[in-house]
C-alpha cells in the first residue's frame, strides 16, 4: 500500500494577545491508500487546527512552525497560496464542523457546488450540474433541491449537501471534521453510515475527526488520539481497542464499556486539559496522569513505534 499522506513533526501555533498558543505540536502519522483514519480528543485539543494545517487554511494569526506535510509525495508546507489552490478540493477536501454556516446564504446550494467543480475541472456548467445531480442522489438528497437556498434546507439536508460538495471534485483525501455535531442522533447515524459507505465506494482516504471514540471505531481503520496538541497514540482500530497503551487512551477506553455502548461526551479523566499558552514542559498529560513519574515532568516523551504499527508517546510504557 502506498502512503498518501505523511505528516512529520508538525507544529502550529496561534499568536494571541496573551502569547502564543501551541495548538499542534510534534504530530507525526501517515495514512495509506484506501484507509480511513479517526482522530479523537477532547474539545480544544487541536483537531480542527490539524485539519486546517493540512488544507493550509489557517487564519492570519496562525503559522506552521515546523514539520512537513507530505501529500502525494510532495511537501505542501512551503507551497504558495496559488499552488495550494490547485490542491484544495481536488487533492484534499473537507466536510466542515460548522455546517450551519459553511454555505453562502445568498447563493443557491447547487450553484455553490457547481462553482467548485468548474473551478477545478475543465468542463461546462451543464456537465457540472449533471454531476451535482448524481452527487445529490449519492448523499440521499433529491436533485430538485439544488435550486434552493441554504436557509431552505434542514440541518441534516445541509450536512448532506456539504458532503456532496466535499465530494464534488473526486478528492483523493477528505477531512470530515465532526460532520454530525449539530444534528439529532438518528440523522447522525444516517450521515455517518453515508460517509462510511461513500468512502469505501469511492476508495478515498479519509480523516474523520470526532469527540466520540465509538463513532470512530465504527468508521475508521486507524485511530489517532490527540491530547493538548500532541499525538499521543496511533494504531489500528483493533489494536487500540484490544491493547491501549497510553494512560490517557486507557482512561478513554474504560469510559466506553463497549463499542456499541451509548455515546458520551469525552471526559474520561478528572482534571482539565492544560492551557496551551503555557503547556507543561514534559509530558502534556503529566498533571492528570495517575502513572506519572519524575521524568514525565521534565522530559517530553518521544512519539515512537512501540510495537509494529502502534505508535505512542509515553515514558512509562517503554
Amino acid at each position: 500500500m502506498d502512503t498518501v499522506l505523511e505528516i512529520k513533526n508538525l507544529g502550529m501555533s496561534y499568536d494571541t494577545t496573551e502569547g502564543s498558543v501551541s495548538a499542534v505540536d510534534n504530530v507525526s502519522f501517515r495514512i495509506m491508500n484506501g484507509e480511513a483514519m479517526g482522530l479523537v480528543g477532547e474539545s480544544g485539543c487541536g483537531k480542527t487546527s490539524l485539519g486546517m494545517c493540512i488544507m493550509k487554511l489557517l487564519p492570519e494569526n496562525a503559522k506552521i512552525t515546523n514539520g512537513e506535510i507530505i501529500f502525494d509525495g510532495e511537501d505542501i508546507v512551503p507551497k504558495t497560496e496559488d499552488e495550494m489552490r490547485m490542491i484544495r478540493w481536488k487533492g484534499v477536501s473537507m466536510i466542515f464542523q460548522a455546517a450551519m454556516n459553511a454555505l453562502n446564504p445568498v447563493y443557491k446550494v447547487g450553484d455553490q457546488i457547481i462553482e467548485a467543480i468548474v473551478a477545478h475541472e475543465n468542463i461546462k456548467k451543464e456537465e457540472a450540474r449533471e454531476k451535482v445531480r448524481e452527487l445529490y442522489k449519492l448523499v440521499g438528497l433529491s436533485p430538485e433541491r439544488m435550486e434552493n437556498y441554504p436557509h431552505e434546507y434542514s440541518g441534516g439536508m445541509r450536512q448532506r449537501a456539504i458532503i456532496a460538495m466535499a465530494l464534488a471534485c473526486d478528492p483523493k483525501f477528505i477531512i470530515a471534521d465532526e460532520p454530525t455535531t449539530a444534528l439529532d442522533v438518528i440523522v447522525q447515524d444516517e450521515i455517518i453510515d453515508e460517509i462510511k459507505n461513500i468512502q469505501k465506494k469511492l476508495n478515498m482516504i479519509m480523516m474523520y475527526i470526532s469527540h466520540d471514540i465509538s463513532v470512530i471505531a465504527e468508521t475508521c481503520d486507524k485511530i489517532g488520539v490527540m491530547y493538548a496538541g500532541n499525538f499521543i497514540e496511533y494504531a489500528d482500530t483493533f489494536a487500540l481497542f484490544d491493547n491501549p497503551l497510553h494512560p490517557y487512551t486507557k482512561a478513554l477506553m474504560s469510559s466506553f464499556p463497549s463499542i456499541e455502548g451509548p455515546k458520551k461526551e469525552l471526559k474520561p479523566v478528572p482534571g482539565e486539559p492544560p492551557n496551551l499558552l503555557n503547556p507543561p514542559r514534559g509530558c502534556r498529560f503529566y498533571p492528570r496522569c495517575s502513572y506519572a513519574e519524575e521524568i514525565c515532568r521534565n522530559e517530553r516523551p518521544e512519539f515512537i513505534e512501540s510495537e509494529s504499527g502502534h505508535f505512542l508517546a509515553c515514558h512509562r510504557v517503554i
Partner: protein, 297 residues
C-alpha cells in the same frame, strides 16, 4: 473572588495594551489633548487683558477693520477689533461642553429607553422602538432649523436639549439588544420569579457588556453633536450670548471676509473638523477593540 479580581486586572491590562497599539486611538487622543489645553488656556488668555480679549464683550479699540496676525493678536481680529484667538479658545470650551453633554444626556436617555424596551418588552418595546425609528429617519438638521425658527431666539440649552432628544435612538437599540439577550439567561429568570431586584441585576450584568459599546457610541455622538451644533451656528441659529466656532465662521462668511481674511476663515473650521475627527478616531479605535468580528482574520 481573588481569581476574579486577577482576571479583571489582566483584562484591563489587555485592553490597555490594545489601546496603546491602536494608531487611531493614539492620534485621536493627541488631538483631543490639544483642544483640552486650549479650553483650559481660554480664561488665562482672557485674564491678560479682559477688555480686549474677552470673546463676547472685549474689543481692541486701536484696530479698525479686520487685521491679520500680530504679536498682540496671534490670529488677528475680526472686523470690529475682537481678538480671534480668544474666540477660538472659547470655542473649544463650548464645543467640548456641548459635545460631552449631548452625548452624556443622550446616552442616559438611550440607556433608560433601551432598558425599558428590552426588559418590559411587548407594547413598550414596539412603541419605543417605533419612536426610535421615526426619530432616526427624521432629517436632523432641517428639523433643528425649523425648531429654531419657531423658538425665535436660540440658547445653547435648547440646542443641547434638542440634540439629546435626537441622538438617543442608536444607543437605545444597542442597550435593548443586550437587555433582550440577558433576559433569556437563567439567573435573570430566577430573579424575576422571586421578584427581587430585577432592575439591579439587569444593570449589574448589563453594564460590563454594554459599557464598551456605549462608549463607542458616546464618542460618535460627540462628533455628531459638535458638527450639528457648528452647522446650526453657522446658519445663524446659534446662541448669540456665547461664542462658538460655528459662529466665528458664520461672522466671517456673512461679513464677506471669507476670501479676504484666511486667518479668520481657516482656524474655526479646522478646529471643528479636528475635534470631531479626534472623537471619531477614538470611536473607530474602540470599535476595533470591542467588536471581535473586526479583528484580524
Amino acid at each position: 473572588m481573588k481569581k476574579i479580581e486577577n482576571k479583571k486586572a489582566s483584562q484591563i491590562r489587555q485592553i490597555w495594551a490594545l489601546v496603546r497599539k491602536s494608531t487611531f486611538i493614539k492620534l485621536g487622543v493627541s488631538i483631543m489633548i490639544l483642544f483640552g489645553i486650549m479650553a483650559v488656556f481660554s480664561p488665562i488668555w482672557i485674564h491678560i487683558n479682559p477688555e480686549v480679549y474677552d470673546p463676547i464683550i472685549g474689543a481692541d479699540p486701536n484696530v479698525h477693520g479686520s487685521v491679520g496676525p500680530s504679536l498682540q493678536h496671534p490670529l488677528g481680529t475680526d472686523d470690529i477689533g475682537k481678538d480671534l484667538f480668544s474666540q477660538l479658545l472659547r470655542g473649544s470650551q463650548v464645543a467640548f461642553m456641548l459635545g460631552m453633554m449631548v452625548s452624556v444626556f443622550s446616552t442616559i436617555i438611550g440607556a433608560a429607553i433601551g432598558l425599558i424596551a428590552g426588559y418590559y418588552g411587548k407594547i413598550w418595546d414596539t412603541l419605543l422602538m417605533r419612536l426610535a425609528d421615526i426619530i432616526l429617519t427624521l432629517p436632523r438638521l432641517p428639523l433643528l432649523i425649523v425648531i429654531s425658527g419657531i423658538f425665535g431666539t436660540q440658547s445653547n440649552w435648547i440646542i443641547l436639549l434638542i440634540l439629546s432628544l435626537t441622538f438617543w435612538p442608536i444607543i437605545s437599540r444597542v442597550i435593548r439588544a443586550q437587555t433582550l439577550s440577558l433576559r433569556e439567561r437563567p439567573f435573570i429568570e430566577s430573579a424575576r420569579v422571586s421578584g427581587v431586584g430585577n432592575t439591579r441585576i439587569i444593570v449589574k450584568h448589563l453594564a460590563p457588556n454594554v459599557l464598551p459599546i456605549a462608549f463607542y457610541y458616546l464618542t460618535v455622538t460627540v462628533t455628531g453633536a459638535i458638527l450639528v451644533e457648528a452647522g446650526l451656528s453657522f446658519l445663524g441659529f446659534g446662541d448669540p450670548s456665547n461664542m462658538s466656532w460655528g459662529m466665528m465662521l458664520q461672522w466671517c462668511f456673512v461679513k464677506g471676509y471669507v476670501f479676504k481674511a484666511p486667518y479668520w476663515m481657516i482656524p474655526p473650521g479646522l478646529c471643528i473638523s479636528l475635534l470631531a475627527f479626534s472623537f471619531y478616531l477614538i470611536g473607530v479605535g474602540l470599535e476595533e477593540m470591542v467588536n471581535p468580528r473586526l479583528k484580524k482574520r
